[in-house]
Subunit: 128 residues, 2 copies
């Protein structure tokens, strides 16, 4: 029995799923945090270098998606070589407190989590 498109879309209207799915990618939260820390607008390569290990493709995709969602503004200066600056919109800034809270939680509990992971891995060894 084949599923119809509607079946997949059943949950597409759920705001929580819909919006949180966007942070389900590897880079969006990181880029928002970064743009949030930086008070002035950042250029493409500046973001890329600060993150360090993101490919051009993924940074482009991530910034485009954030732009589409209205989280980020893209200012393009028609110069040669091209200059493009990004900064958070008010919407993007309004998200900042929440993901900063999350980031602080992450720092605070990092040790606990790391230990838990090691313990779990060790237990797995015993069983196998």
């Amino acid at each position: 029995m084949k599923k119809k498109l509607e079946d997949y879309d059943l949950h597409a209207s759920c705001p929580i799923r819909n919006v949180l799915d966007r942070f389900g990618d590897k880079w969006s939260i990181l880029v928002i945090l970064l743009l949030g820390e930086h008070k002035t607008a950042m250029r493409f390569n500046e973001v890329a270098q600060t993150i360090g290990d993101i490919s051009q493709k993924m940074l482009t995709v991530t910034l485009r998606t954030l732009e589409a969602d209205g989280m980020v503004v893209r200012k393009h200066y028609p110069e040669i070589p091209p200059r493009v600056e990004y900064e958070l919109t008010d919407l993007g800034k309004s998200l900042l407190p929440y993901i900063n809270g999350l980031a602080q939680w992450a720092v605070k509990n990092y040790d606990t989590i790391t230990k838990s992971r090691k313990k779990f891995a060790a237990r797995k060894q015993l069983v196998s």
Copy 2:
């Protein structure tokens, strides 16, 4: 020039990356929210049915990972048919306020984001 494993691990020690990467999957946050709402422990299929469109495999993987991170406890009763119950640990509960904040933000700004997406898609049409 080939990259060594160490190069990839440069950022592996960053708590924010390391922990936030875990929410980079589609289901973890959703499962934590769900277990957080539910006051009593939940069974595997109860979680699966509430979410609705998660496969057995992905629920297994998600719960295992959350267990490894110490966010969830897994209580296994050696019965036939098997019974397994899941609930949040204190660590998992401590994360709840932050992702609840995120979820509320999502609900509040869903409309704005949806409109922004449509506008962006329309603009793209014009250019192409």
